[in-house]
């Protein structure tokens, strides 16, 4: 069973979202997603300052098995990217919810965060997928 921290919110496409004190949101891919992908070899991050709509593909994570899109969970503008992933994409495998974060956005709608799946709902979805 993969690790699903309770304080985060999740999407069907396996991104996690953390709400920061300054109102920005940090986004990465879940422990379950990194397990499915296997060893990551490259991350193509979005550009700071770009605005994405909900569900837009905004980054690519590439593993030895596949290259997958990362979708923007909530509409907003990219405020920061994790530059360290350029040299160490495997950080996502080692610490998907910590140092393996991919980017942060300033959401257009502050309430959208609460509309995402909570840890229980995401856990159920993953469990069903496994069957």
């Amino acid at each position: 069973m993969s690790n699903i921290p309770a304080e985060l919110r999740y999407t069907k496409s396996h991104e996690w979202v953390r709400k920061n004190d300054d109102g920005t949101l940090t986004i990465g891919i879940s422990d379950h997603a990194q397990e499915l992908l296997g060893d990551l070899v490259f991350v193509d991050p979005p550009e700071v300052g770009t605005t994405f709509g909900e569900g837009d593909d905004c980054a690519v994570v590439e593993s030895v098995k596949a290259a997958s899109d990362v979708y923007c969970p909530i509409a907003g503008e990219v405020t920061a990217i994790n530059e360290d992933l350029a040299d160490a994409p495997e950080t996502i495998n080692a610490d998907p919810y910590g140092d393996g974060w991919i980017f942060t956005i300033k959401p257009e709608d502050d309430d959208a965060f609460m509309e995402l799946m909570d840890a229980d709902a995401y856990g159920e979805m993953v469990a069903e997928e496994d069957h």
Binding site: F42, D44, E62, S63, K65, A66, A67
Partner: protein, 465 residues
């Protein structure tokens, strides 16, 4: 069970969804005269003996020609062993070696090919080939657009000294993606892009294409052009003849920081002219752009027992995995031709390639001297050339080409159609395959035909060389 990808109902639904009447309507944009009407009737069968005889008789109608045409495809000596080895059962496949465990020999060959191409072009990496030189340029353009995120436009600067066919193919492939190919005119004296003619404050552009040697055979001022593009935030795409790189500075060393992508046609490396194809395209780049490069590369690694082994890498971005989001959907590779090219390069070695390039250059210089001394025909451009030059004629180029063809000589490529401003101009090339006798034979025939056309006093007795 038959494999039927779409039922008739599927087809009807798909057509209805895009609002098209029938499948035929999808091909409307292809001009009617290019469409094959299909066989009206299948001719009656003939025996093997009869068809063999028919084919032999038709083949015998081909005359042996003395070829002075280049224009993108060049006649070079190919050691007999090259194709003897390339067509052995172990290599004789054009297909991609997806099963690493069954294809170590092919993978090692491709790895060697990449190493040779990277070294020849001065680039960090090479892919395992593309379809041809023109599509390689189109891919290099798409790659630059994906890579140069700082550019505020989708504009590519492409000199008119780039092969006209390459420009047409690139335009066809990229035009529907909002990419604009802006042509740069050439200097009429030099036949090159004069760096001084480039604007000091250009609008934002993605990349500058630099041909070396260019379509006229002329050498461009690659250092100044490369630096100009980089100073203005543009990338540099080199289009080169791989044989010329045995003598010329590799694109990786152009200017202060070198070109970013190098592409071209690999035909001169062991692939026969064979009426225009198949050839292969190559593309090489700096390591920072490798994930935007189409196609796959072969990597060397060690297996569980610590032995060296080879595997396809970077294929996660190819179309069989990424579908519509693949870096390219025409990343065909020409396995068999690359096999021949690799064996060719291995067989003649760097010194042999340099001799080929030097002899081709020297032969062309001799040809130009003879043309001027005997026939009074001069190159129309004053810049140095590699192994090809544009010659001004007083007669319609097509007539000259036709008259020489009757003598079994392929005189060259007529530049009039693509460059009407040049008037009657013939692009000629003499590679290392031409002997002094060949050159004299060509020059004498050209002299005879051109002086006859100029209305000499006694046309019945043309002045002989």
């Amino acid at each position: 069970m038959p494999f039927i990808p779409h039922t008739e109902e599927d087809v009807r639904e798909m057509l209805a969804a895009i609002g098209v009447k029938d499948i035929e309507a999808l091909f409307d944009e292809i001009p009617a005269e290019l469409r094959s009407a299909g066989l009206k009737r299948v001719p009656p069968g003939v025996s093997e003996m009869a068809i063999s005889r028919d084919m032999a008789e038709r083949a015998a109608q081909d005359q042996r020609t003395l070829c002075f045409a280049g224009a993108g495809a060049y006649e070079h000596h190919i050691p007999a062993a090259v194709w003897e080895i390339a067509t052995r059962g172990e290599f004789y496949s054009a297909y991609t070696p997806y099963q690493a465990e069954a294809s170590q020999g092919t993978l090692q060959l491709l790895y060697e090919y990449q190493t040779m191409m990277a070294s020849l072009t001065g680039m960090d990496v090479s892919n395992a080939s593309l379809y041809d030189g023109a599509t390689a340029l189109a891919e290099a353009i798409l790659m630059a657009v994906r890579s140069n995120r700082k550019a505020k436009s989708k504009k590519i600067l492409i000199p008119r000294t780039v092969h006209p066919h390459y420009r047409k193919v690139a335009h066809t492939i990229v035009k529907n993606q909002g990419i604009v190919l802006e042509e740069l005119d050439y200097d009429r004296q030099g036949g090159h892009i004069n760096p001084a003619s480039l604007p000091s404050e250009p609008d934002s552009f993605v990349a500058l294409v630099i041909p070396q040697p260019n379509f006229f055979g002329v050498l461009e001022e690659v250092d100044a052009l490369t630096d100009w593009a980089h100073q203005h935030g543009g990338m540099v795409i080199a289009v080169t003849n791989p044989v010329s790189l045995a003598l010329l500075k590799p694109p990786g060393e152009w200017g202060e920081t070198g070109a970013d992508i190098t592409c071209g046609d690999g035909q001169p490396l062991g692939v026969p002219l064979s009426s225009g194809g198949p050839y292969f395209g190559f593309i090489c780049c700096r390591e920072e752009f490798v994930r935007q490069m189409p196609g796959r590369i072969i990597g060397r690694t060690t297996d569980l027992d610590g032995k060296p082994g080879y595997a396809l890498t970077l294929q996660a971005r190819e179309q069989h995995i990424r579908r519509s989001k693949a870096t390219s959907n025409i990343c065909t590779n020409q396995g068999l031709l690359v096999t021949a090219a690799t064996i060719h390069m291995a067989m003649i070695g760097p010194a042999g390639l340099e001799r080929t390039a030097a002899s081709s250059h020297a032969n062309t210089q001799v040809l130009l001297k003879k043309l001027q001394a005997v026939a009074g025909l001069k190159p129309i451009f004053n810049r140095p050339v590699f192994h090809e030059a544009a010659i001004g004629l007083d007669l319609p180029t097509a007539d000259v080409i036709q008259a020489l063809a009757a003598e079994g000589i392929v005189a060259g490529f007529a530049l009039n159609e693509d460059y009407p401003e040049l008037g009657n101009t013939l692009l000629v090339c003499a590679t290392e395959t031409k002997t002094e006798t060949d050159l004299d034979h060509f020059v004498a025939n050209l002299q005879r035909i051109t002086s006859r056309g100029q209305g000499t006093k006694n046309p019945a007795e043309p002045k002989m060389a």
